[in-house]
Amino acid sequence: MAAVATCGSVAASTGSAVATASKSNVTSFQRRGPRASVTNDSGPRLVSIAGTRPSVRNGQLLVSTGLPALDQLLGGGLAVGTVLLIEEDKYNIYSPLLFKYFLAEGIVNGHTLLVASAKEDPANILQELPAPLLDDKCKKEFDEDVYNHKTPESNIKMKIAWRYQLLPKMEIGPVSSSRFGHYYDASKRMPQELIEASNWHGFFLPEKISSTLKVEPCSLTPGYTKLLQFIQNIIYEEGFDGSNPQKKQRNILRIGIQNLGSPLWGDDICCAENGGNSHSLTKFLYVLRGLLRTSLSACIITMPTHLIQNKAIIARVTTLSDVVVGLESFIGSERETNPLYKDYHGLIHIRQIPRLNNLICDESDVKDLAFKLKRKLFTIEVREFLCFSLQS
């Protein structure tokens, strides 16, 4: 992909030569618009891929994360070619849910999936995906849930917290006509026929590490090297990067990597502060992003950052990812019994949103976001309890 940053208009040149070595993510995208050089014919046709839509801000192709509320917070969705890093909650209860929503969204849209895990067999992960809520059924289920949640206080006008009154309401109901972003029932499983009809590839580390696949020399841990080779192979073989002349692919590849950085991957950053492999994970992320930028794919990674001993590595990992979302659950903390937090299961922090082909990004004004897992739905809401405590 050619790299173009916005620049001035054509005129006489001043005549200075420039060499740039760019490592940041801003320059790997071609700006979509009248000034973009349309050298590849896939420009206008990209919009017609199922489950994608162009961003309102910069025309980037977006896919849904499987959680419409999260899509809204990220400025419309996850851009194709970028990485969504989920910082796992302490007991790894809620991050697998986000992981599964992402994959389920892929199945519903007909995208190809690539699931990598060192702990669980990908086939089992797919069996546990939540079932999609279809339009006619889900309206009824939503009304049920919303009714149970309504408390008398919500009818009182929030006079003191005028700030919250002006905020747009978070989308918690289904948008019936859009095919971007679906809702899922966490209490039911994805129908077997949908899973079987989908095209998916699994990478289960214990199986792959014993095979004698020829590995190119690299200084990554063997697990990461094998995974990179696997991903690159799928991208090339199935034509997601457009380089394979036999394959013309007009679909998205959704990659999901679970518990990256945990000891099960052979990495020791969660065990030791200055281990021998301290650059393995960051190198992996860098090369992975290179692969993503040059193909029609989007990736979700869950990482147990709370276990990483070296804070510098966490900072580097954050810089090397595009979107970073942190989950903080209340389980086991003193907030669990705090009446102020009783409606919620944890906090969700949007730590980073990329600036793709743009000077600014769609940062949400609201930083106090909490999540809760209701009987069937995972919702993200603004923390409203603060208003009630000020009133009395």
Binding site: A5, C7, S13, A17, A19, T20, V287, L359, I360
Partner: protein
């Protein structure tokens, strides 16, 4: 190029100083708008695609090159050769690439005036296994060639990790701070996110060219990034507040 920033720096594309190293630094915020400013400053009046076709702009895209290096065996030395090596080596191949790219070409057309090396960003090299000393060596060699020999300019971006205790990054940042003529430091506000003020920019001139000025000059402004430009104002003087 942000006209307001040019005014603050008291410079313009046609009268920029030569032989200078400018350090861009960001702490708790994204400093890529500064890279954008300098890129369009030095290419004023030329579109990037045209500059690339003419050979005026040589662009090494790290992400794409990394994929090439890691997955395909290379016959010639590649600028990012170190990705294939187990031990942290040095950045000599990368320097050779830079030197080759900026060699003055004697062609029939008008020669380019002076070269500019823009690096975005150096902290990533640390994440890829390079030691801080190796990166400082690379910058030193580049300065000798670009700033001293070819009388050009250099602009480099380094992240400031703040309290993340990244020792290697701190060494790199401190080392470069001493070598730079101009430091632009974009910081997020200490109070957190604000819709009208995106951050604070500290401008520090070191080694001023006029001998009359003895001490390093430093200015602080706050800024707000808009769709196509950045507006700067004195601390506390945001239009939203006044």
């Amino acid at each position: 190029m942000f006209v307001e920033l040019n005014n603050l720096l008291n410079t313009a594309p046609d009268r920029a100083e030569q032989g200078k190293l400018t350090l861009l630094c960001d702490a708790k915020t994204d400093g890529s708008f500064l890279v954008h400013h300098f890129l369009s400053f030095y290419l004023k009046g030329v579109s990037l695609t045209m500059a690339r076709e003419r050979g005026q702009l040589v662009f090494l895209e790290g992400l794409k090159s990394a994929v090439d290096v890691v997955f395909q065996a290379q016959k010639e030395p590649h600028p990012l050769q170190f990705l294939r090596e187990a031990n942290a080596g040095n950045l000599k191949p990368l320097f050779e690439f830079v030197r080759e790219a900026l060699k003055p070409v004697d062609s029939g057309e008008a020669r380019w005036t002076y070269p500019v090396l823009l690096v975005d960003d150096l902290s990533v090299l640390l994440s890829l296994g390079m030691g801080a000393v190796a990166v400082l060596d690379f910058i030193h060699y580049c300065r000798a060639t670009v700033c001293w020999e070819l009388k050009g300019n250099m602009v480099v971006l380094v992240h400031d990790s703040g309290d993340a205790e990244d020792e290697e990054n701190d060494i790199l940042l401190n080392g470069l701070s001493h070598q730079s003529h101009l430091i632009l430091r974009a910081e997020g506000l200490a109070t957190g996110f604000c819709r009208d003020v995106h951050g604070q920019l500290r401008i520090l001139w070191r080694r001023p060219s006029q001998p009359a000025v003895h001490r390093d000059q430093s200015f602080t402004y706050q800024y707000k990034i808009q769709d196509k430009s950045v507006s700067f104002f004195a601390k506390g003087m945001s239009p939203a507040v006044l």
